[in-house]
C-alpha cells in the first residue's frame, strides 16, 4: 500500500515536471484539444472554463487546482487535475497535424460566429476544411437514416438546388437524408456544404460515406465538438443535432419517423427561434410520419427548393429556380422526346400506369391490361430512357 502511494507520488511529481516543461512550448490549439478530451468535459463545463481564459490559462488553472465549483463539480475538477497529467501533448499535436484539423475556442477570431452567440455555445470546435462565409444563408437539411428512395431523391434535389442558389447546406453526414443532401450540394458545385458530425473529425462514420467526408473536407468543412479520435457514441448525436440547429438559419426536415433523431434538431431549432419546414410525405409512408406531424403542428411545407428560398427571403432566385427546376428535368427532357418520337403507344400507356410511388410490375399489368412481355420490354426501355427506376422489385417514375 505505502509502496503504491510512493510510486504514485513520484509519477505525479514527474508529471508536474513534464507539464512545466511542455506548457512553455505547447500550442494553444493542442491544449484546447486536450481540454475537450478531459473526462466529463461537457459543452457547458468547457464553456464555463474557457469563457474568460485562454486554453493555456485554463490548463494551468486545472493543474494548480484553483478552479471553483462554478466551472464544474469538485469531483470532476479533481478528476481533471489527475487526468490532465496523462496527456501526451506531443502525440496529440501529431494527430491534429496529420489529420489537418483546425481547433478553435470561443474567443478565437475564426471560431464560427453562429456558435459564439449561441444559447448553448460550443467552446471548442474541431474542423477540417474551411467554413463558408457566415454571411451566406445556412439551411439545415436533415432527416431519417432509414429513408425511402423518394425521400433521398428529394433530399438530393434540395441539396443541389440550395447549393446552386448560393445557400450553405448544413447536415450531419449520416446515412439516408443527411448524406443525400450533402451529395446533392456537392453535385451543384455552388455554395460549399458544412457537415456537423458526431464522432471526432478524424474518425470517419459511417464508413460508407468516406468519399463524401473527404469531398466535404476539401471544398467545405467537416466540424465536430467531439475530441480527436472520439468514437461515434450514441450520446454524442443529440449534441451534434444542437450544433446543426445552431449553424442554420432555417431547418428543413425531409423525412422523419415518429420519434426520429431529426426531431431533436427541430426541438433545438425551436429553442433558437429558427424556422422549421417539413417536406410533406404520403400518409402511408412511415418514414414521413414525423414530418407530416410537423406540418400538422404548423410548420411550413417545403415542396421544393423554391419554397425554401422564398422562406429565406431569396424569392428572386426562387423564381428562376422554379422555372429551371434544373435537377429533376436534366437528362429526362430529351428522352421524353425520344419516347414521343418512337411513338410507341404502349410505352406511354405503361408510363402512365406507373406511379411516383413504387409500383410492382403486376400492378402495371393490371392497370394497362397489356401482355407481360410488352410491359417488361416497355419498362426496361423507360429505365434506359431515365424516365422510371427499377430496383428489381418495383418501378417508380422519376
Amino acid at each position: 500500500m505505502s509502496m503504491r502511494r510512493l510510486v504514485l507520488g513520484c509519477a505525479l511529481r514527474w508529471g508536474d515536471m513534464m507539464l512545466d516543461e511542455l506548457r512553455g512550448e505547447a500550442r494553444e490549439d493542442v491544449l484546447a484539444a486536450a481540454l475537450a478530451a478531459l473526462p466529463g468535459a461537457t459543452a457547458l463545463r468547457l464553456h464555463n472554463l474557457l469563457e474568460a481564459r485562454s486554453a493555456s490559462e485554463a490548463y494551468a488553472a486545472i493543474n494548480d487546482g484553483v478552479l471553483s465549483s462554478d466551472v464544474a463539480p469538485l469531483e470532476v475538477l479533481e478528476e481533471w487535475q489527475t487526468g490532465i497529467t496523462r496527456f501526451d501533448l506531443g502525440i496529440l499535436q501529431a494527430r491534429i497535424d496529420a489529420a489537418e484539423v483546425r481547433v478553435s475556442i470561443l474567443h478565437d477570431a475564426d471560431h464560427p460566429l453562429q456558435l459564439k452567440h449561441d444559447i448553448d455555445p460550443a467552446a471548442v470546435l474541431f474542423r477540417r476544411g474551411n467554413l463558408p462565409d457566415p454571411g451566406l444563408a445556412h439551411v439545415a437539411v436533415v432527416g431519417t437514416r432509414r429513408a425511402t428512395a423518394i425521400g433521398r431523391e428529394v433530399a438530393r434535389q434540395l441539396g443541389f438546388g440550395l447549393a446552386q442558389a448560393g445557400v450553405v447546406v448544413v447536415s450531419g453526414l449520416a446515412l439516408g437524408i443527411d448524406g443525400e443532401a450533402h451529395r446533392g450540394a456537392l453535385l451543384a458545385e455552388g455554395a460549399a456544404p458544412v457537415a456537423v458530425v458526431g464522432s471526432g473529425v478524424d474518425v470517419v462514420y459511417p464508413k460508407r460515406h468516406a468519399d463524401l467526408w473527404q469531398q466535404i473536407a476539401e471544398c467545405g468543412a467537416v466540424v465536430s465538438e467531439a475530441p480527436i479520435g472520439a468514437n461515434p457514441e450514441p450520446w454524442r448525436f443529440p449534441a451534434r443535432n444542437r450544433l446543426i440547429a445552431a449553424f442554420a438559419d432555417l431547418v428543413v426536415v425531409v423525412e422523419s419517423r415518429r420519434a426520429g433523431g431529426s426531431l431533436l434538431t427541430v426541438e433545438q431549432a425551436m429553442r433558437r427561434d429558427i424556422d422549421v419546414m417539413a417536406v410533406p410525405g404520403s400518409v402511408r409512408n412511415r418514414a414521413a410520419e414525423g414530418t407530416n406531424a410537423l406540418l400538422v403542428d404548423g410548420c411550413a411545407p417545403a415542396r421544393d427548393v423554391a419554397d425554401v428560398l422564398v422562406a429565406l427571403g431569396l424569392s428572386e432566385i426562387a423564381v428562376t429556380a422554379r422555372r429551371d427546376n434544373s435537377f429533376a428535368d436534366r437528362g429526362a427532357a430529351p428522352n421524353l422526346r425520344v419516347v414521343g418520337g418512337a411513338g410507341s403507344k404502349e410505352m406511354i400507356t405503361v408510363l402512365e400506369a406507373i406511379d411516383d410511388g413504387p409500383t410492382s410490375i403486376d400492378e402495371v399489368l393490371a392497370r394497362t391490361g397489356l401482355a407481360v412481355f410488352d410491359v417488361s420490354a416497355c419498362v426496361e426501355e423507360l429505365v434506359t430512357a431515365n424516365l422510371v427506376t427499377h430496383d428489381g422489385a418495383r418501378v417508380r417514375r422519376l
Binding site: R146, F373, A377, E381, T384, A393
Partner: protein, 502 residues
C-alpha cells in the same frame, strides 16, 4: 483349392470390376479378407458364414483367404457378399469350380441366406460383361437396364447353388411392372395472380436459364419453384440413364420402373456442407446434390442463409455442367447439369424496404452482400415475387396449367436442339452468334447498356440467350428485336438487391 468369381464395386458414380479370389486350405480355421475392403465389406465374413449355414451348406473349418483384386481400388459396401459366398462354396468343393465360369454376382447376404439389394446396382452391372449376372431380386428392374437379358435375379443363396450345381432352372422372378410414372408434380394452375413471376418461370424452364426468386415471405417463391420441374419435358433416354446411374450410386430410391424419366428436383436445406452440395466424402466420393439434381432442378431456398463458401463452390460446376471432386489420390467427374433456382428474401425481415420493413439500410446492404457477385451473375432471370393481391388470390380464375405451359417449353427446347444445344442457355458463344442475330435497334439497345455499364460483356451474352428464349416463346422469329433485348435486360439481377423503396 482356389476359386475366382467376377463382381464389381462402386467408385464414385461408376462401377469398378473386382475379381473375388477365394483360397481354402488346411490349417487352423481362419477367415481373412485382403484387398482394401472398407468396414462394411470386411463384415462380410460374419454375414457370409451365417448365410451359408442357413442355406443348408457347410462352412469349411479351414483356413480361408479372400482377395479382392485389383487391390488398389477401395471396395465399399456389402455387394461383394454373394461372390465371396459363392467363392467359398466353390473352393470348398460344394459346387463345381466350372459353375463359376462366365458368372458374376453383386448382392448383400442376409443371415438367413437371402439376397438384399445394394445401392448403385446400375453402374456396377454396367462393368460386368459375363453371360450371367446374379443380383438380388429387389435389384432386378434396375440391373436389367444395364445388363438386360443377362441378369439372373434370385431371392436366396440356395437358389444360386441349385441352378449352378444341381442344374435346376434359374428361379423366375417377376420383374417390377413397368408403368407410366404418375406425374405428381404440383400444377402451375394453383398459382393465382403472379403474372410476371409465372412468365419468368416459363422463360427459365424454356431456356434453361438459372432463376432467382426474390420476395417477402409468404409471397409464393417456394410454391413457384416447386412447379418448375412440372414444366420440363421428360428426360431423353441418355439423360434418363445418366440420372438413374447417379441416383443409384447416391442410394436414392428409384421409381418403380427403375429408370428415372422425369427431371429430378432437389431442395437441400441451407445448412448443407460443401461435400453435400458438390459431392465428396472420404473413402468413396459420393455424388452431391448438384449431381443428383443433374438434368433437373436444384432449388436453393433461402439462398442468403447458405454458407458463402458453399455457394461459391457452385460457380465452376454451374459454368461447366460437370463437377470435378478431388480427394487425396482420386479425382472424379460427376455430372452437374442443373437448372438452378434460388429463392431469397430481399432483407432479413423479408419486407424489402416496403412499408412494414424493420431493417435499416446497412442491415439490408449486409444481407444483399451475403451472395457474391459471381454467383448472382450466373442467375440470368431474376423475378420479384410479391405477395399476391387479395383480389388475385380470391377472385381470379386459375391460371394456365402446367400442361399448357410445358407444351410451349417443349417447343422452345426443340428449337434449341435444332441449334445444337439442349437449351438456349447452353448455346456456346459461336452458336449464339448464329442463332440470335440482332436487328439494328436491338444492337443499339445492347450497345447502350454496355456503354452505360449496366451490362458486362458476359452479361450481354447471357442477355442475348434470354432474349432468344423470349423470342422463341413469343413467335420464334429468327432475329431478336429491341423489345426482346429490353425484356431480357429487365431480368438481370440489379444490385443492390432488396430495393430501398417504401
Amino acid at each position: 483349392m482356389l476359386a475366382s468369381i467376377r463382381s464389381s464395386t462402386l467408385d464414385g458414380i461408376d462401377g469398378a470390376a473386382v475379381d473375388v479370389e477365394v483360397h481354402v486350405t488346411n490349417g487352423l480355421p481362419a477367415f481373412t479378407i485382403v484387398g482394401l475392403p472398407d468396414a462394411s465389406c470386411r463384415e462380410a465374413r460374419d454375414r457370409v458364414r451365417a448365410a451359408i449355414e442357413s442355406s443348408d451348406l457347410a462352412w469349411p473349418m479351414q483356413r480361408i483367404t479372400v482377395n479382392l483384386a485389383p487391390s488398389g481400388v477401395r471396395k465399399v459396401g456389402a455387394g461383394l457378399d454373394v461372390p465371396i459366398g459363392l467363392g467359398i462354396l466353390a473352393a470348398s468343393e460344394q459346387i463345381p469350380l466350372s459353375a463359376l465360369e462366365d458368372i458374376s454376382a453383386v448382392g448383400e447376404l442376409g443371415l438367413d441366406g437371402s439376397l438384399r439389394a445394394v445401392p448403385g446396382i446400375l453402374p456396377m452391372v454396367d462393368v460386368l460383361k459375363t453371360n450371367r449376372v446374379i443380383v438380388a431380386a429387389g435389384d432386378a428392374g434396375v440391373a436389367a437396364l444395364g445388363a438386360g437379358e443377362r441378369v439372373r435375379p434370385v431371392r436366396r443363396l440356395r437358389d444360386i447353388v441349385d441352378a449352378v450345381a444341381e442344374g435346376l432352372p434359374w428361379p423366375h422372378v417377376e420383374p417390377p411392372q413397368y408403368h407410366e410414372e404418375i406425374r405428381n408434380d404440383p400444377d402451375l394452375a394453383d398459382v393465382r395472380g403472379q403474372v410476371s413471376a409465372r412468365w419468368g418461370l416459363e422463360i427459365a424452364a424454356a431456356g434453361g436459364h438459372h432463376l432467382l426468386l426474390v420476395g417477402p415471405p409468404g409471397g409464393g417463391k417456394t410454391m413457384l419453384a416447386r412447379r418448375l420441374p412440372g414444366l420440363l419435358p421428360d428426360l431423353s433416354p441418355e439423360a434418363a440413364r445418366l440420372v438413374t446411374r447417379v441416383h443409384s450410386a447416391a442410394a436414392i430410391r428409384l421409381p418403380g420402373s427403375g429408370l428415372v424419366r422425369r427431371p429430378p428436383f432437389r431442395a437441400p436445406h441451407h445448412s448443407a456442407s460443401m461435400a453435400a452440395l458438390v459431392g465428396g466424402g472420404s473413402g468413396r466420393i459420393v455424388p452431391g446434390e448438384i449431381s443428383v439434381a443433374s438434368e433437373g432442378v436444384l432449388f436453393l431456398d433461402e439462398l442468403g442463409e447458405f454458407a458463402p463458401s458453399v455457394l461459391d463452390g457452385l460457380r465452376q460446376p454451374l459454368e461447366e455442367g460437370v463437377v470435378r471432386v478431388a480427394r487425396s489420390g482420386v479425382m472424379r467427374e460427376h455430372p452437374a447439369n442443373v437448372l438452378l433456382v434460388a429463392a431469397m428474401n430481399p432483407c432479413p425481415c423479408g419486407e424489402g424496404g416496403s412499408v412494414g420493413c424493420r431493417c435499416g439500410p446497412s442491415a439490408r446492404l449486409r444481407y444483399s452482400r451475403r451472395i457474391s457477385g459471381p454467383v448472382l451473375d450466373r442467375l440470368d432471370v431474376m423475378v420479384h415475387v410479391d405477395r399476391p393481391s387479395p383480389t388475385a388470390l380470391l377472385d381470379s380464375a386459375p391460371g394456365e396449367s402446367s400442361g399448357e405451359v410445358s407444351q410451349r417449353v417443349a417447343r422452345v427446347r426443340e428449337l434449341a436442339a435444332c441449334r445444337g444445344a439442349p437449351t438456349n442457355a447452353s448455346l456456346s458463344r459461336e452458336q449464339l452468334e448464329d442463332a440470335a442475330p440482332l436487328d439494328a435497334e436491338a444492337t443499339d439497345v445492347l450497345h447502350q447498356a454496355l456503354t452505360d455499364g449496366r451490362l458486362s460483356a458476359r452479361g450481354a451474352m447471357r442477355v442475348r440467350a434470354v432474349a432468344r428464349t423470349i423470342r422463341d416463346l413469343d413467335d420464334a422469329g429468327s432475329t431478336l428485336r429491341a423489345c426482346d433485348v429490353y425484356a431480357a435486360i429487365g431480368f438481370r439481377v440489379r444490385p443492390p438487391m432488396g430495393g430501398y423503396d417504401a
